[in-house]
């Protein structure tokens, strides 16, 4: 390996890492606020990429049917809850949240389908279609289990991934898609020549991470999220509704997933199930960073991107094995380096009488 190849691999790795950063931040946030390790995170990225590809091919993106389906399920769950508690006076809110809001981008898509759209409009609409999926999944799968142990939530998340990716195949079909590049050419930064595409990914990642930081630090909603992450019961006592912050975390996470999917879509071919691997790698990054701190998660994500890129140079067959294999020594190091807080292992089943 000479310096030039090393440079190209580093660029690749940093571009991948930048994508993993966005995803890792989203996963860490969802975990901190709701205790859900959201395994289908990468699937949402894949949906965004596939949606954009459909728009570019002039097709109706199948995402609309997914959103309609999930929104119907969530609305049904809400109506059931309302009927049981006889809280009909609050029904309009539920309908607005779970029926109207998610279906608004769907309606827009149905109206605009077939018309030629500006590239930016396609991107925005793709993201808008994917964003409701996270909160809807939260409502359907996780809210009924709010008090369940983390492990149960994890098992549900894994099962959810399989359900979602199965639905994705039904809707999107087995072919792979790659979107048109947003930019082309190269720019020189001093001595180093960087492709515009890579530059776009890195810059976008930095911008969106910063935006995320601003939302988290400066807005009231962000503070509610942080409060819930720090102490769930304490947040409840000061009037923060856990389900609302949970939904919000999934909404923001969904947006991050969609954005990262869109960013990576011109440089990688996406299949209905590509998201899982990307998501898991971002996950590895988040875990390397400890699942607690956002900057550390970002560093971990970049580390995974670089590792992946350099290992693919030596052996592309063992690339994935290395990325997942690295997790074990990392976890070991973490468990030895950081004294563990004794946590109560929770019961999986209730007492049988």
């Amino acid at each position: 390996m000479n310096l030039e190849i090393a440079g190209i691999l580093a660029q690749d790795g940093i571009a991948n890492g930048a994508i993993y950063v966005l995803m890792a931040i989203g996963m860490v946030m969802i975990f901190a606020v709701t205790r859900v390790l959201f395994v289908p995170f990468g699937d949402l990225s894949a949906f965004a990429a596939l949606t954009l590809a459909s728009f570019q091919l002039g097709r109706m993106p199948a995402t609309v049917w997914l959103v309609v389906l999930l929104s119907a399920l969530a609305t049904a769950a809400e109506l059931l809850r309302i009927a049981r508690k006889r809280e009909w006076h609050a029904a309009h809110k539920s309908l607005a949240l779970y029926l109207v809001a998610p279906n608004a981008p769907v309606l827009l898509t149905l109206l605009l389908a077939g018309e030629s759209m500006h590239a930016a409009a396609e991107v925005v609409l793709s993201i808008a279609l994917v964003v409701p999926i996270g909160p809807l999944l939260y409502r359907i799968a996780f809210r009924p289990l709010a008090d369940a142990p983390i492990l149960v939530l994890l098992i549900v998340a894994v099962a959810l991934h399989f359900a979602v990716s199965g639905v994705a195949l039904l809707f999107f079909g087995p072919e792979g898609f790659r979107t048109r590049p947003f930019v082309s050419g190269e720019i020189a930064i001093g001595e180093v020549v960087v492709s515009m595409q890579v530059a776009l990914i890195v810059v976008s990642s930095v911008v969106f991470s910063f935006l995320f930081f601003v939302v988290f630090e400066k807005t009231m909603a962000g503070k509610a999220l942080r409060a819930t992450a720090v102490n769930r019961i304490g947040a409840r006592i000061v009037g923060i509704r856990p389900f609302r912050t949970g939904g919000l975390a999934f909404l923001l996470g969904s947006a991050l997933a969609a954005i990262s999917g869109i960013l990576v879509s011109p440089v990688a071919t996406f299949f209905f199930d590509s998201g899982f691997m990307i998501g898991l790698k971002a996950f590895v990054g988040a875990i390397v960073g400890g699942l607690a701190s956002y900057p550390l998660a970002a560093l971990g994500a970049i580390f995974v991107g670089l590792l992946e890129s350099y290992s693919s140079f030596w052996s592309s067959a063992f690339k994935e094995i290395l990325v997942f294999g690295i997790l074990i020594p990392v976890l070991l190091w973490r468990s030895l380096a950081f004294a563990q807080v004794e946590e109560e292992e929770e019961e999986l089943d209730e007492v049988e009488t």
Partner: protein, 589 residues
């Protein structure tokens, strides 16, 4: 259903299962063979996840290791399948030992996540190794043959699978009822409780992880020699999750859950594979969607699985009380009576900048009841943790029975004769009272995993149960010995914890707020029990909040305030102490 009727039903069921190949066709038998093979892997998960509380998504990888080990040896090396079985057990056991040694120290959700990681990595390895046929897999695997008997047909395989599964279930059931099995079932109470009983969390976790791996390996061996062909696909993460689904669907808290779950999922799969192609061309994917949704619904509405519903039909087992045997379990050496039971010398504990305990010294004489009291935040619990070895002091020295135990782990301190209870009662709600107490006798017995699975130590087990019964009698819970601990009211749960600590035959009993949450009558009963124990020669240290309870009970009191020792002496003297009054009431009374 009455008990004899239930027995008849079971007998008929067993006979029907044995006669099945003569009645139904080959397809049904093949399906049942898969049920048995999957059930074996799921059984490993029942032990690991349901009993030991360790969730693994990677069970399919172990099935793969067993399958590939035997397939490689019997094809490329031409060795007989029985050697393949030995290799399958050895490799899965070895890999589990290695992976477990690295990952089982991880806490909480890190462990299941790591199983996803190595689950993926191992299944990817199968597809990338030349000797294992890469993605094409290995074909022409010979059927199992033992001497002249060849298990070539589905019917003969049926008996092999059935016997293997039955054997594994018998061993598991024995194991769970033994000393180490109880240790496995206690793992979910958290490390503090488990280690306080003298049980090594890591060793027990590792053992159950290896056992689960070996069951998966044997399942893989059967799979390879029944299919006669293997490829990486059935050992991917997806299958690992299916195994977990089987265990949870059947009921991960029961050995039978693995079989019921495997049957449910396999039959469902078979039905779906017949029905779905009529509806859609993407039937395989729809299948996954259905599994996923089913799993989520199951966890939302019936986390215990199907078995609890079936068990309601079975008659309640009314186990007879254990036979009375005395003097088999070893006792603590009390030949050299300790004048000073416990000595704490200038113990300090800092959490960052906060000094929770500041240079506290005290002595506990043999045969006395000493109360450690103080307002909230005085440092009582911190000192308690330092004494029991749950947490190490920043400086100072703790001497128990003449031995420096400052840096000795909790389970070694327990072995020296210290037993403790917990402020928030830590019992196994799904184990009987007797089993909960028997858990306390772990240190006084020897029987290992293999001995437990093969029921080699029946005399010891009987002695443990007899002793546990005696402890239940001591605290007045003997008549409820067969009930589940989770069904007891709080006061009885506290007594049960004391009985469990007595089963360790301690010389020093350390109680963490034993009266918290008890009513007056219950407190009086507890106080008289503690008096009785003291008269029997036990030394007792209790940390308590409740002044009335302590005043009438203890011989001496030590008062802590803001991490420092404020006063020490008999209750009457403490009652008159102005500083103590000030600490509790804010002003001098």
């Amino acid at each position: 259903m009455t008990r004899p009727a239930f027995r008849i039903v079971l007998g008929v069921l067993a006979a029907a299962l044995a006669a099945l190949p003569f009645v139904v066709g080959g397809f049904a038998i093949t399906l049942l063979n898969y049920v048995g093979i999957y059930a074996l892997a799921a059984l490993g998960l029942v032990l690991l996840t349901g009993m030991g509380g360790l969730t693994s998504f990677g069970q399919a990888a172990f099935v793969g290791i067993g399958a590939y080990a035997s397939a490689y040896l019997t094809t490329a090396q031409g060795l007989p399948p029985l050697i393949g079985l030995v290799a399958a057990v050895a490799t899965t056991g070895g890999v589990a030992l290695l992976l477990g040694a690295v990952t089982l120290k991880l806490g909480g959700h890190f462990l299941p996540l790591s199983t996803i990681a190595w689950g993926i990595a191992i299944s990817l390895l199968f597809g990338n190794i030349e000797a294992l046929g890469r993605h094409n897999g290995i074909a022409n695997i010979p059927p199992v043959s033992v001497g002249p008997v060849s298990f070539f047909t589905a019917e003969s395989m049926y008996y092999l699978v059935g016997l293997t599964l039955a054997g594994a279930m018998w061993l598991s059931s024995n194991l769970l009822d033994s000393r180490e099995g109880r240790a496995i079932r206690s793992l979910r109470s958290g490390a503090a409780m488990v280690e306080s009983l003298g049980i090594s969390v890591f060793r027990t976790r590792l053992a159950v992880f290896v056992i689960a791996g070996i069951f998966a390996g044997i399942s893989g061996w059967l799979y390879a020699h029944m299919q006669r062909f293997i490829s990486p696909a059935p050992f991917e993460l997806r299958t690992g999750i299916e195994y977990l689904l089987m265990a949870v669907a059947g009921g991960s808290g029961h050995i039978l859950g693995a079989v019921v779950g495997a049957a449910l999922i396999t039959f469902l799969k078979s039905v779906l594979q017949d029905v779905l192609p009529l509806l859609t061309s993407n039937s395989a994917q729809l299948e996954i969607v259905i599994y996923g949704c089913l799993f989520i619904l199951l966890l939302q509405y019936a986390r215990g699985g199907v078995i609890p519903f079936i068990l309601r039909l079975a008659p309640k087992r009314r186990a007879p009380p254990p036979a009375r045997i005395t003097g088999v379990l070893p006792k603590q050496d009390r030949s050299a009576p300790d004048a000073t039971m416990l000595e704490i010398v200038a113990v300090t504990k800092r959490f960052g900048g906060l000094v929770a305990v500041n240079e506290v010294s005290l002595k506990l004489r043999a045969g006395e009841i000493l109360g450690l009291i103080g307002p909230n935040g005085a440092g009582k619990s911190t000192l308690f943790n330092a004494i029991t070895g749950t947490d190490k002091p920043s400086s100072g020295k703790i001497v128990f029975r003449g031995r420096d135990v400052t840096h000795v782990p909790a389970r070694k301190i327990a072995a020296l004769g210290m037993a403790r209870t917990f402020q928030h009662v830590k019992l196994r709600p799904n184990m009987s009272l007797l089993e909960n107490v028997a858990l306390g006798a772990y240190l006084r017995s020897r029987c290992g995993f293999l001995g437990g699975a093969l029921r080699l130590a029946r005399a010891e087990e009987a002695a443990i149960r007899a002793d546990a019964m005696r402890q239940l009698e001591r605290v007045g819970l003997a008549d409820r010995f067969a009930d589940l601990a989770g069904n007891l009211p709080l006061a009885s749960q506290r007594l049960l914890e004391i009985a469990r600590s007595l089963a360790a035959d301690p010389v020093l009993l350390v109680l963490d707020e034993p009266a918290a949450g008890l009513r007056r009558m219950e407190k009086e009963a507890l106080a008289s029990l503690l008096h009785r124990l003291r008269e029997e020669g036990l030394t007792i240290l209790l940390v308590e909040h409740d002044m009335d309870f302590v005043m009438n009970l203890v011989d001496r009191l030590v008062v802590l305030d803001f991490g420092s020792k404020l006063a020490e002496g008999p209750p009457s003297q403490i009652r008159a102490n102005l500083q103590v009054q000030q600490a509790y009431l804010g002003v001098a009374a």
